[in-house]
């Protein structure tokens, strides 16, 4: 098996600018052998490596059945800036896939609710596309909903894909604020506002939540208030990650290794830890 501490080469096949600071990179693993053995589930992430700069954990934003392996990256600091300077044909390093993904197997027969905030849509897009691409999956749920909140209309990622999502999902969007000239017709306010609009059948709902930590906390609170069982709420956490495989200690969240036991957690598993400041 490939040593998980050594990156392998991945060529940038194409880059698509999503918003002012975010772009999607399609990567092609160069080694045939590694590519053949490479399997992931939505919610898992890779460590992307720019030699000389460093590594960053980035969720896979495509579905396993997609032809291209995609990552959607926002420029934040050193590594993500270096990535943004690259062009199609350039080669980067990659390690992965790492972590525990979204539990598809638990969604059968239930209403699936996807709640995304900002860039948190990236690992959830993998879920959405997976459902779109596998007809069988689409039929497996009684109802499918996607709630997405962004800062402004300009910050909505994958906007051009939403018409397709709407064929299978009830899609509700909200932004923190919209300038009048943007002619925004969706909601303004927090994602949690959208819960009122959807009339959830709480006991049949399974929720996948990803976004900034505060947004996840308020979303979970709202879901619980509405009676969604804690065992059916899943969140994807962000922490500092260095090794990706549970050997470096940076991602500790109480006794959990976020890189290995997560990043996707069942809320009931981490409930006791969520409220503790600076854990």
């Amino acid at each position: 098996m490939h040593d998980k501490s050594i990156p392998f080469e991945a060529a940038i096949k194409w880059i698509k600018k999503e918003t002012r600071d975010t772009a999607t990179y399609a990567l092609k693993v160069k080694s045939r052998d590694i590519q053949k053995g490479y399997r992931f589930i939505p919610g898992q992430f890779n460590m992307l490596y720019v030699p000389g700069i460093g590594e960053a954990p980035v969720s896979i934003s495509s579905a396993p059945s997609d032809q291209d392996l995609m990552h959607t990256v926002r420029v934040a600091g050193d590594v993500t800036t270096a990535l943004s300077h690259l062009k199609a044909g350039d080669v980067i390093g990659m390690r992965g896939p790492f972590g525990r993904g979204w539990p598809f197997e638990e969604t059968g027969g239930l209403d699936i609710l996807i709640v995304a905030g900002g860039l948190g849509i990236a690992p959830l897009r993998s879920v959405v596309r997976h459902i779109l691409r596998t007809k069988k999956m689409a039929g497996a749920h009684s109802r499918r909903m996607l709630f997405y909140g962004a800062k402004t209309p300009k910050d909505i990622i994958f906007r051009n894909e939403f018409p397709r999502y709407r064929e299978v999902f009830e899609v509700l969007l909200t932004v923190d604020r919209a300038d009048p000239e943007e002619r925004w017709r969706g909601e303004t306010g927090l994602v949690t506002k959208l819960f009122d609009r959807a009339a959830l059948d709480s006991l049949r709902t399974i929720a996948f939540v990803c976004g900034p930590e505060v947004m996840m906390q308020t979303s979970v609170r709202e879901l619980i208030l509405r009676g969604v069982p804690e065992e059916r709420i899943f969140l994807s956490l962000e922490r500092n990650m260095n090794c990706g495989v549970g050997l470096c200690g940076h991602c500790f969240f109480g006794p959990k290794f976020v890189c290995r036991d997560g990043p996707v957690f069942r809320f009931s598993e981490i409930e006791g830890l969520m409220g503790i400041k600076e854990l």
Binding site: P7, E9, G52, N240, H250, P255, F257
Partner: protein, 368 residues
């Protein structure tokens, strides 16, 4: 398993035998402390006594008749099996990326004086780096052919609390050979076939009941000399119930965040990986670059340890200290099924502020 005695004057023969195949690591005095180094039998600082207290260590020539008359210093197996700084790979980026991994041509190591507490830490290391979901190939390459001679303790220092953690002063398993220093000889007990092979060929004295009784009595005496205790039976609950205890803030006021404890702790394993570029690594064509990816010990006391872009999950010293102690006394058990504190007391001795983990735990027990 094979059991035999070795006359004290024959200890050199054991070294000679091991040296053929292994780098033999044992105790040696350097800068006034007992450290570990590649040594010969005559380097062992026999007759020295270490006096340890919170924030203090003193080595003096004493009266004890044993060869191993001292306890542990700051050093442990850790820096030999998981070096403080090492190269993960060398890289060169031009059109593609080429990666070269360093060869592992190092001689295997024999630890001649590993104490029972450290052996417990080694077991934890094995669990983390060999039996976790991902094996650490570098650790594996160093560990695979190593030999572990555990030395049952006769003299603890004043900061030892191994009995509380169930790790010492006697080792019961996990070693290749266990040594116990008796009055006129060493009792050698093999724990593995590898250990038996080493013992074969040494001048062997027969072991009788009185030797085993002497071993028992000597270890019992050591146990009686232990001065520190913790309420291990109340762990991990004592930690989990007290995450918001005011004591954490109070410790943070004394804590200097030097990170000594994490560096000396034989179970601390946190690390960071980064790219090191030499000046020669940067070419005029900016895309071309070469350098080495390095892995270094890190510490949860580092301010940036839990930093992410746009924030820090543990900005306060209070939270960082709590993280360290909680990892030692609660989380590790959950993560790896073994205690993260082995009771060696190094963090107490080498803390310049004299913070004593046994006392702090006791304080958590007291009313808020």
């Amino acid at each position: 398993m094979l059991k035999q005695k070795l006359k004290k004057e024959h200890l050199g023969l054991l070294f000679d035998k091991l040296k053929v195949t292994h780098g033999v690591l044992g105790p040696k005095v350097e800068n006034g402390v007992v450290t570990l180094a590649e040594i010969d039998a005559h380097d062992i600082p026999s007759g020295y006594e270490d006096h340890q207290q919170p924030g203090g260590y003193r080595l003096i020539k004493g009266e004890r008749p044993e060869i191993f008359s001292f306890s542990i210093g700051p050093d442990s197996f850790k820096r030999f099996l998981q070096p403080p700084l090492r190269e993960v790979f060398a890289f060169r980026r031009a059109a593609g990326i080429s990666i070269t991994r360093p060869g592992a041509e190092q001689r295997p190591l024999a630890f001649i004086d590993m104490r029972p507490c450290d052996l417990s830490a080694l077991k934890l290391y094995d669990r983390i780096f060999l039996r976790g979901p991902v094996r650490d190939p570098y650790y594996d390459s160093l560990r695979r052919d190593s030999l572990v001679f555990v030395l049952n303790c006769l003299y603890p220092n004043d900061n030892c609390f191994c009995p509380s953690m169930g790790t010492g002063p006697e080792a019961t398993d996990g070693f290749d050979v266990a040594l116990t220093e008796l009055s006129d000889s060493f009792l050698l007990e093999a724990g593995t076939a590898k250990g038996e092979t080493v013992l074969a060929g040494l001048p062997a004295g027969e072991v009788d009941d009185s030797d085993m009784r002497e071993k028992g009595a000597r270890i019992e005496l050591c146990r009686k000399r232990i001065k520190k205790f913790i309420r291990a039976g109340e762990l991990p609950g004592l930690i989990y119930r007290n995450v918001e205890h005011p004591r954490w803030a109070e410790i943070a006021e004394r804590d200097l965040e030097c990170g000594n404890c994490t560096q000396l702790c034989p179970t601390c394993f946190c690390n960071s990986t980064y790219d090191a570029l030499g000046l020669s690594g940067i070419s005029k064509k900016s895309y071309q670059v070469s350098g080495r990816r390095m892995r270094k010990w890190d510490s949860c006391f580092s301010k940036n340890f839990a930093r992410v872009h746009g924030g820090n999950f543990r900005p306060s010293r209070r939270a960082r200290y709590r993280q360290w102690m909680s990892h030692k006394l609660a989380y590790t058990m959950e993560q790896f099924g073994l205690p993260g504190c082995v009771g060696c007391g190094r963090c107490i001795t080498w803390c310049p502020a004299g913070i004593d983990i046994t006392k702090e735990l006791e304080a958590l027990k007291s009313a808020r």
